[in-house]
């Protein structure tokens, strides 16, 4: 059966069907991501002073991933332009570059960024016990300087028993009075050898850097996870359009393949545009 209006425009809309379909779909996606971004912003605005985690993500790696996604948008549009000019070989290479960029983005996210968080540990200290851990928090100096007091000790969980956690400290808690620790670090500092013993009775809440850690990480994993699923979906579609099966369509009707690449390219641009908002919101602000 021939599907109508895949190449020619529909008289009543002036567009071919897939283009209307993709824009309707993207409109629903705007609502989905819009709701999640709104939730994140309201959670952040409403957070008690000093409780919102900051500077926990790797800015250089996030920047590199952002550059990769921007590059993939360039290559997908060039792939589409190559098809319009009936240059299938160039299309094939540009599409391969787009797929590679998507795979690199997902690999960095799933094999490096997320696992790094899963290995990290944080213990929120009860307000009445903060003074006991002053050597790891450095709050006297911070309050003197007008900064919010620290309430969390972070690092790698070395060991634990029924009464205590032993934590290999992050530099921020190993050397809390160093003014350098007051600011985010361009290149994340490695965990130190200094071990802190934290009594469980003094801990309000302790968890790895998972969605259960805080509203920040719950939002981070939800939004980047959903975004990652979209990237994966885009890569799968691109792989299909890169395989020989698409060459048959190209030989039969090149404009039809160009239109398919255009709608998937529109989806890809939307996914990349979402990341343009995710990156500053989570990594920088």
């Amino acid at each position: 059966m021939e599907i109508p209006y895949t190449v020619s425009t529909r008289p009543d809309t002036g567009l071919w069907n897939a283009k209307i379909g993709i824009w309707l779909f993207l409109a629903s996606e705007v609502m989905l991501f819009g709701a999640l971004f709104s939730a994140y912003i309201f959670l952040r605005i409403d957070a008690a002073p000093g409780t919102w985690p900051h500077g926990l993500l790797n800015v250089p790696v996030g920047t590199m991933n952002t550059a990769i996604l921007i590059l993939s948008s360039v290559t997908v549009v060039l792939a589409w332009a190559a098809l319009k000019m009936r240059r299938y070989r160039a299309y094939w290479w540009y599409m391969l570059a787009t797929i590679t960029c998507g795979v690199i983005f997902l690999t960095v996210k799933l094999a490096y960024e997320w696992p790094q968080k899963f290995e990290h540990f944080g213990a929120y200290i009860k307000p009445e016990a903060l003074a006991k851990y002053e050597q790891y928090l450095g709050n006297e100096r911070r309050i003197e300087k007008g900064f919010e007091p620290r309430i969390e000790i972070t690092g790698h969980l070395h060991s634990q028993n029924a009464k205590e956690y032993e934590v290999a400290l992050d530099p921020v808690n190993a050397d809390p009075d160093n003014p350098v620790m007051d600011r985010p670090h361009f290149f994340p500092l490695p965990v130190t050898d200094k071990i802190a013993t934290i009594e469980k009775a003094d801990v309000q809440r302790a968890t790895m850097f998972l969605p259960t850690h805080s509203a920040y990480f719950a939002s981070y994993f939800t939004i980047t996870g959903l975004h990652g699923l979209h990237v994966l979906g885009g890569v799968i579609v691109f792989i299909y359009m890169w395989l020989p099966v698409s060459k048959k369509l190209y030989q039969r009707n090149p404009e039809h393949l160009a239109n398919r690449v255009e709608v998937s390219g529109l989806f890809w641009h939307f996914v990349d545009l979402v990341w343009i908002f995710v990156f500053p919101l989570f990594y920088l602000l």
Binding site: R183, P184, H269, L284
Partner: protein, 69 residues
């Protein structure tokens, strides 16, 4: 909107992001005193200029090739 139009919108947002990252790096350097961020700022501003140049090149190329859908 065609892919061409959406791509130009995307490049505009990417340029704004690059400028924003550059300003953020300058801010961290000035307020927090972290000179390494200056290198990040320079790289971001260079990226913003490169994106503008690419955007203009892309627009002209599409116009020349009359790829309008």
């Amino acid at each position: 909107m065609s892919l061409k139009g959406f791509h130009i919108v995307f490049i505009i947002f990417s340029t704004l992001l690059a400028l924003g990252v550059g300003l953020w790096c300058v801010w961290v350097d000035l307020v927090e005193g972290a000179p390494i961020y200056l290198a990040g700022a320079i790289a971001s501003f260079v990226a913003a200029v490169a994106l503008i140049v690419y955007g203009v090149w892309f627009y002209r190329k599409m116009k020349r090739l009359r790829i309008i859908t």
